[in-house]
Amino acid sequence: MKKTDNLELQEYINTPQFSINKVEKQLLLIHFLNQLHRHHFRNNEAYAKVSSGIFNKNENDSFNSIEEIPFLPVSIFKTHYLRSVPDEDVFKVLTSSGTTGTVPSRVVLDKETSQLQTLALSKIITKVVGNERLPMLIVDSQSVLKDRASFSARGAGILGLSIFGRNHQYILDENYELDEEKLSEFLKKFNGKRMLIFGFTFMVWQYLFLQSKNKEIDLSNAILIHSGGWKKLQELSVDNQTFRQKLFERFGLRQIYNFYGMVEQVGGVFLENTEGYLHCPNFSDIIIRNPYDFSVQPNGVEGLIQVVSILPKSYPGHSLLTEDIGVCMGEDDSKSGWKGKYFKIIGRAKKAELRGCSDTFAQTKQ
């Protein structure tokens, strides 16, 4: 893609978030996605094979709607190292280990895509945090950043958000135990003031809510951004509503934003709106697909979530079928006033465990 394309893209990312209506957004997204399709088709053999072999689309095909864009399965980055830029342009490789015992995803970033990612994230975050850097409490341990050679998804999330804060304080020690002293130290200065809190959903619940003994914590002016999914909290029967209510009762915390995204797609950042639904920003979108035949589901009907983003240039991640199941609740008509599609996550497709005769003894090794 040409330099001017990048300028055009930056300009689009810079437009105020959640401001563009359906018709306009479709035109703009498809314009960038057509460019990305051609770019990846030309520069990435795997993408070209999938486009032509599965979707019957060629290099010069252009699309009229985002639903027509070919998609890759999100797990492809576990099995294949995919890049659409020359090796010498590779700036960093993001990895995510997901659940223990699984192969990590590898996501290749060049300078340009990495800068766009930072820009996009800042547009989303400043929308709810504002432009001022706030004192920042991180519900994690600094150890998670130690292995700088390969960024874990959690580390990358923390680093990505750290630039929106100051006076950063990690409240878990190197053994991932709550450090009450550090928490009190931070609160001595900032209790009741405007501050930013970031952490994984489960860790916020486990450490900040359940474990901390401090009764004086006042977070009525704080903004909490949390992500990582609900699986562990579902086991404790804690849903989003309970989570929000309990944090409000205990700390006076009202500004709570869940955040859905994955290391495999830069720009695919979905922040919770005031209605409690995840909301698509200007530069990315979701499509809910019927798991039976991948046809597009109408609003209100659940299916597999496809995520689309106009940022990934260094690797073919602009259109991915996730393993998450969700429902699109509507578009442009959110009570929060934000434009764009909004949705909720129902869960994740279970890993298929099929039976068979070649499965007796060797696999049960302890």
């Binding site: 072999g53 399965p73 068979g356 499965d359 060797a362």
Partner: protein
Amino acid sequence: MEELRVKLITPEKKETEISLLPALNEKEFPLEVFDKQTIAFSDALSKTILQNKDFNHIPALAALAFWLRKSNIQRIIKENKSLFSIPDTKILPLGKVLHICPSNVDTIFVYSLLISLLAGNKNILRVSSKTQPAFLDFLFETINSLCLQNEFKIFFNYINIVSYPHNTEISAFISKKVDSRIIWGGDNTALLFKSIITNPRCRDIVFADRISFSVIKCSAFLNAPSEIKKETARKFYNDSYTFDQKGCSSPQQVFFVGTKEEYEEIVNDFFKLVDGFAKDQYDYDTASLAVMKFNELTNDVIENSTNKVISQTAFTYSVESRDIPMKHGCGGGYFYSVNIKSVYSIQEYINPKIQTLSYFGLNTEDIENLSEISKGGGIDRIVPIGRALDFDYVWDGYNLVSALTKILHIM
């Protein structure tokens, strides 16, 4: 030495020291080959299964009960009459047999056990300690209660079903004491047990990883009335999906024999019919299947195994592939298809891993040609579509009855 303990399931439930297993200790072999008591035991087991309303509707159990019936056992005896026809010989039980049972094709252990019992052998069966379907417990209970009956008391020493977590010491202890081991469960299990030292005369009967396929003659399918087409698709569905397409005799690939035009005319219809049955009857989470198969398809496309998709629904994926050797897909209804001009072309795909060929529309001459290309290598079974899973004493190239008996020469 620390005690080697196992969980005994049959003939009674208790923890026991491995050296105390009755099958390893009793020196007497009162049962003959094809003993009347064994036939009666098999028939009684069959009746109990058929009478149980909770379980008799499960296809795998119904098939098992049918196989265990007295009349079917008598067929097996009749078919093996020639074993007894060698002059100056007697056919006798081989001795003690260890069965390493597959954890997931849940009824195989009963077939394995009964064939060995018919041969007059004492048996130790190792079953997986993983969670199992409810009907397995029912089978164990049934065998246990039969063994308590006066007329079947003799089987108390003949059937020891045990369960233990992976433990080479226990496996080695039993392996040294038995005269034969029947090892189900694929390459890894086979190699693991082959690395364990046995008595030098121990006969290993090994069921390694196999791969199976179907052959459909396009002209025969084209000319068949629509109910036959549907019936063929239903049988193909049963062969494929009953064990999640992971059974060693479930087809992975389908060869369509005919011209390109004939092939193109039927291939979509065939998989559409299969998908109809799968959609109605295959009880599996749609999103999980969709994710698993789309991942497999993407990998196949990137690795050049295919560049053409014939069917793509969560329940039935079919892609064209000319890969040699043919691939084992992800299972759950993921088929490779290929158009060939004549059955001879199958020769290129044959290797020792090939087990079952299930067919529709082949004539005697085709089958003669296929048996010709089975010499020295793969293809151990040629059966009509719908019978791929029919287990019998002839399996994987063995006659299990003769493999589990010995010949006494008397001059």
